[in-house]
């Protein structure tokens, strides 16, 4: 029973990982690619780490895997935000069919 749950989590993670990396290739500009990056990280890596910790059972490995998952969970939004802000400040344009850019209009 425990193993079935672990394998379901691993399968969901592998699916999200491959779909997210296809999204990183397909999407047209940096900001859309960061959405696909979030799919890879949250839906792929963290779910796979949870699946690995369920598969491992209760041991000192499990605690360490959960620490790694929690660390990725804390740091990924910070780095995504930093890259998006740096890209916008360094002048990377949005996709040409984007609808609106309030940041460009309202910030000096």
């Amino acid at each position: 029973m425990i193993e079935i749950i672990a394998y379901i989590l691993l399968g969901i993670g592998a699916f999200c990982a491959i779909v997210g990396s296809i999204g990183i290739v397909r999407f047209p500009d940096v900001y859309n690619r960061i959405h696909a990056n979030t799919v890879v990280v949250v839906g792929g890596a963290i779910v796979m780490l949870l699946g690995a910790s369920v598969l491992e059972g209760l041991s000192s490995y499990t605690l360490k895997i959960l620490i790694i998952a929690f660390f990725i969970f804390l740091t990924n939004p910070v780095s995504a935000h930093a890259i998006a802000r740096a890209a916008h400040k360094s002048g990377v344009k949005l996709w040409r069919r984007s609808v609106v850019d309030k940041l460009e209009e309202e910030k000096p």
Partner: protein, 176 residues
């Protein structure tokens, strides 16, 4: 010094909490209960806690352990997971659709949160759900500039209700 009479036990309390947290992190990372490891961990955790407890915790200790806030924090977890599931389904649909039905843009999302922790938590939650990405924070009138993969509304009230409200509903009670 600036510390009054009542501030000193508070400082002791935050020093103690910092020491316990650091020691638990040491035990979890070494993964053994050997008394030698525990002793070295206690020494190192005490040293780091004395240096850095003012950075880790500020404010009183009593209001951090108010049970109502922890109740809202527990209720936040299933709401957060539900928001994540919906956002993942929508973004995976957009990736796999052959004509890629996206309509991206950057909108402004005003927020009613005022504390630093509240705004940080809201920005992190918005970034962690795929489909919305916080690009910039405006600190004068607290609002976030959010890149949205499928812009449905541009007016600040609409965007605030659609993007920020599922998280802000809990965060404004957790971090006042």
């Amino acid at each position: 010094m600036l510390w009054g009479n009542e501030a000193i036990p508070m400082a002791k309390g935050s020093l103690f909490v910092a020491f316990i947290c650091l020691w638990l992190a040491w035990i979890a990372l070494t993964g053994s209960l050997n008394p030698q490891e525990l002793g070295v961990g206690a020494i190192v955790a005490a040293f780091v806690a004395v240096i850095s407890y003012k950075l880790l915790f500020h404010g009183g200790m009593r209001e951090k352990f108010e049970p109502k806030r922890w109740g809202y924090a527990l209720a936040y977890v299933p709401a957060y997971i539900w928001a994540e599931l919906k956002a993942h389904a929508s973004v995976i649909y957009r990736i796999l659709h052959p004509r890629m039905p996206i309509k991206p843009g950057i909108v402004r999302v005003p927020t009613k949160l005022r504390s630093d922790f509240g705004i940080t938590g809201l920005a992190n939650a918005i970034t962690m759900t795929p489909g919305t990405l916080s690009v910039e924070v405006n600190e004068e009138e607290p609002s976030l500039y959010v890149h949205w993969i499928n812009v449905e509304a541009v007016e600040p009230e609409q965007t605030s209700r659609q993007i920020a409200w599922p998280f802000e509903r809990f965060l404004r009670r957790i971090f006042r």
